[in-house]
Subunit: 134 residues, 6 copies
C-alpha cells in the first residue's frame, strides 16, 4: 500500500469501525487475496475519502447508500450496509422505509428484492421484523 494514502486508509478504517464490527472489517479486507489494490481503494477512497468529505452524517450516507444499491439492483452489498444502518442506530422500520421509497422511484421488483434481503438479515440477527408488532 502506497504510503501516500496511509492517512486516507486510516480514516477509512475509522469510518468502518463506526459502520461495522471486526467481522465486517475482515470481510472488506478479505478482498485482499484477489486484489489488494481494490481493497485499498474501497477503504482509502470509498470509506476514507468519500464518507469523510463534507457535512453529511454517517446515518444519512448509509441511507443514501441503501437507496443507491436498491435503485441499481446491486443487492450483493446490501446486507453489509443494512448491518451498518443498524449499528448506527437507524431503526429496522426506517430501513424498510428507505427500501419502500425506492418502490416509487425504481419499481416494485427491486424494492421487493430489497425487502426480502432485509427480512432475511433481520431474522438472522434476531431483530424483530417491523411488520410483526403491527
Amino acid at each position: 500500500m502506497d504510503v501516500n494514502n496511509k492517512e486516507s486508509y486510516e480514516k477509512g478504517i475509522d469510518v468502518l469501525k463506526k459502520l461495522t464490527d471486526e467481522h465486517g472489517i475482515s470481510m472488506i479486507q478479505s478482498y485482499k487475496d484477489i486484489s489488494p489494490e481494490f481493497t485499498e481503494m474501497m477503504i482509502s477512497f470509498g470509506f476514507g475519502t468519500v464518507y469523510t468529505t463534507g457535512s453529511l452524517e454517517l446515518k444519512q450516507r448509509t441511507m443514501l447508500t441503501m437507496a443507491s444499491l436498491v435503485s441499481q439492483g446491486a443487492f450483493e452489498q446490501l446486507p453489509f450496509h443494512i448491518r451498518a444502518a443498524i449499528n448506527l442506530g437507524i431503526s429496522p422500520q426506517e430501513i424498510v422505509e428507505v427500501i419502500l421509497h425506492c418502490a416509487a422511484y425504481a419499481g416494485f421488483p427491486k424494492a421487493a428484492s430489497g425487502m426480502r434481503i432485509a427480512r432475511d438479515l433481520f431474522q438472522e440477527l434476531g431483530v424483530e421484523l417491523p411488520g410483526e408488532s403491527s
Copy 2:
C-alpha cells in the same frame, strides 16, 4: 390498512386470483412481516390500480412485465410472472419468445439469465420445454 384503499385492495386480490393460486397470493402477502405497507401497496396500487387501468388485457400486461423484468435485470420476480403467464394460457413457447425478443433490445446476457430461469421453472412444474419437441 387504510379503509380508503379497501376497494383497490380487493381489486388487487381479484387480479391476483387470475394470475396466481393460493400459494402465490400467500407469497405476496408474506411481505407483511417485513412491511405491511409495502404489501398493501403492491396489492392495491400494483395489481389493483395499474393492472386494472385502461384496456390492456392481463395476458398483454404479463408479457410486458416479463419484458420489463428481463430488460432491467430484475430476475428475482421473474418466476412469479412466468407462472402467471402459464396460468393465463400463454404458452411456454410464447414465454420463451418474449425473453428472446429481449436479447435484441437488452443484450444476450440478460436474455440468457431469463432463459435459464424459465427452464428451471418449466422443469419444476413438469412443463415440456419448448425445445424438446422440436
Copy 3:
C-alpha cells in the same frame, strides 16, 4: 454485405416496411456511414431474424419493445418504436398504457420520461393526446 445474410436482410427490410415508412427505413440505413456492419446487423439480425422467429405478432413485439426501452432507460430509440406502434394500429391510448405499466415495474421517473416522449411525438404527428378527450 455478406451474401450469406441476404435472405435475412431482405426479411428485415420486409419487417421494416410494416413498422415504418421510407423515412424510417432511411433513418435505420443512415447508420451506414458510421458502421455498415452495425446497420446490416440491425436489419438482418434484429428485424430480419428476431422479429420473424416464432409466433408473436408485430403488434406484440412492438409493445414488448416499448416496455424494454422504457424499463432500461434507452429513450433515444423510443420515438421510432412509438411511430411503429401507430403504423401497426396500436392506439395512442394503448401506447400510453404500456408506458404506464412500466411505472409499477421500473419506477415513475422512467415512465415520466416515456410519457413526455410520447406526448412530444403525438403532438409532432398531430395525433390527439389520449388525455385531451377525457
Copy 4:
C-alpha cells in the same frame, strides 16, 4: 379520478405544496393531456401515499430520491427534485454531497451528469455554486 383515491390525491397535493411551487405542481399536472391516470397515480400514490407512509421526513425522502435518480441514470426528473431539496432547506452543498456520494456507489459518469445538472439549475436559479466561495 376515482373518488376512492380522493383523500390520497389531496395528501399528494399537500406534499407537493411543500416540495414545489405553483409552477412545479402545474408541471406535474401537465401530464394530464397524455395520461390523466398516470398523473393521478404520481400524485395519489407517489406523493400522497409513499411520501406520507412512515416516519421519514421530507428532507430525507428528497435526499433518497436524488440518490435513486442519479444511481439509475434517470436524470430528466432530477431538476424537479433538486428544486424540491432547495425549497425544503437542503443546502446546495448538501445536494452536491448526495451526488458525490453516488460517485462511489454508481460510478463517476453518473455522478458527473448529476453535477452538471445541479450546476445548470443553480445557475438558472441564481444560487451561488458551492465551489465558488471555497
Copy 5:
C-alpha cells in the same frame, strides 16, 4: 436451423473453440432444450458474426465483454467469460484490473461482485489469486 446461417454458425463454433472447451460449448448448447432459436442466435450472431466482424482480437473482445457484464450487473454470464479470458492467455492479474477499472466507471458495488465471482472461479480452477503472491 436455417441453412442460410450455417456458415455463421460454424464460424461461431470456431470462435467458441478458442474461447472455451468442450464443456463450455456444451453449456452454450444446453439452451437448446428451452430455445433452439436462442442457442442458434447466440452462436451464429453473437460468436459467429459480432466476434468475427472487424479487426479487434479475441483478447480485446473478451476484456470488453467482462467490462460490459460488470457495468450492467449481468453477473451470471461472467464466469464463462473469465474462463475464456484465461483460455486466451489473459492473466488473472489483468482480469482483476478490468474489474477494478469498472469500479471507477460503474461503482464499487458492481466491481465488488465481479471480484467475488473472479475469486470463486480462480479458486475452483486452482489458479493462484493475484493478491496472494504480493
Copy 6:
C-alpha cells in the same frame, strides 16, 4: 486540496495530458465551481489512481471505458472518452467496433445511441466516418 493526495493528483494530470488536450483538462476542471472535491476525486482517484494501477495500457483502459459507458447507458461522458481514444491512436474503425461489440452484450438500442454519438463527434472533428470509404 489535501496535500496528502498531491502525488495522485499530479499523476492524474499526467494521465489526462495523454488522454486529452488543454481544452479537455479545462473541461474536467470546470466541475470545480460546483464541487472542488468531486473534481479532485475524478483527477486523483479516477485518473491518478485507477488508471495508473496495474499493467493495462491507456489504450486498453479507454476501450474498457467506452464499453462500460455504452453498456450502462451513461452517454454524456462518451464524447470525452472517444476523443481520448483518438488521441491515443485508436482508429475510428476500432472505436466503432467497441460500440458494435456492446450491441450483443447490452442490446441494439444502447449501441445505436453510441454509434450516433460517435458519428456526431467524428463529423465535428472532421474525421472520416468508417463507413464512408467502404
